[in-house]
């Protein structure tokens, strides 16, 4: 299995509402002719939004679930002062602030929000993980 992830699909309760949230963050959809799903190109992969019950059914999983789903997405920023700006932008697009920006023990500066379906996002400035001009991060060995 090659070392790649092609898509992350987030299960949502209201597709239009979820899509509008990400568009309010300034994101632009791809595959706009696709119905019943929304795709966003993120680097060399895709973020997809798809009804949660259908997502579970596709994987033949029971759709019910509650509490922490065990997955956190992170959006790293180039400059420390962008952390608060991105958190504020998310909140003004309808997100819920989970944890305000704060210093971390590893020398970073991070905060957390939850999107409209409670998917948690970390917004992080991590001086140890450089971000290229195209937005890719490159991990050191």
């Amino acid at each position: 299995m090659e070392q790649r992830i092609s898509l992350i699909t987030l299960g949502v309760t209201d597709l239009d509402r979820a899509r509008d949230f990400y568009e309010r963050l300034g994101w632009r959809r791809s595959v706009r002719r696709a119905e019943g799903v929304a795709f966003f190109q993120v680097g060399g992969m895709a973020l997809a939004l798809y009804p949660r019950t259908a997502l579970a059914a596709d994987a033949q999983l029971a759709p019910a679930g509650e509490g922490f789903g065990g997955v956190v997405l992170a959006h790293n920023v180039r400059r420390r002062e962008e952390v608060e700006a991105v958190l504020a932008e998310a909140v003004s697009a309808g997100a819920r602030l989970l944890r305000p920006a704060h210093e971390t023990e590893w020398g970073g500066y991070v905060g957390y929000f939850a999107d409209l379906d409670d998917h948690p996002w970390e917004v992080a400035w991590n001086p140890g993980f450089p971000i290229r001009d195209d937005g890719a991060i490159e991990l050191p060995d």
Copy 2:
């Protein structure tokens, strides 16, 4: 907020066990000096494995959760016949087969497995989403 995802972090109950699973798939870790977390470079982003309770605490979320977490990761392959091969490889590394490879209504061929912490993965051949030589997928408009 730029249209990017920098990391996906999967909460795990046993970090060594989870790391070994992804290494059995042939994946190679980065940031090997980091303790208490495992990082894998995946394209221009990272997959991180991190103890589930600590992951929840960082986001100030209650750690408990059960059932479907509402997130599915997908690994797309270049050729249809790779779907079964990757599913078999995952199962032989310890994954649980959720759904065998099958045709989809959109013309693809996909199957699902769950990793050792029940994070679901889709293995997909999607003729509509070309894969570049470097593994990136490029969505059409």
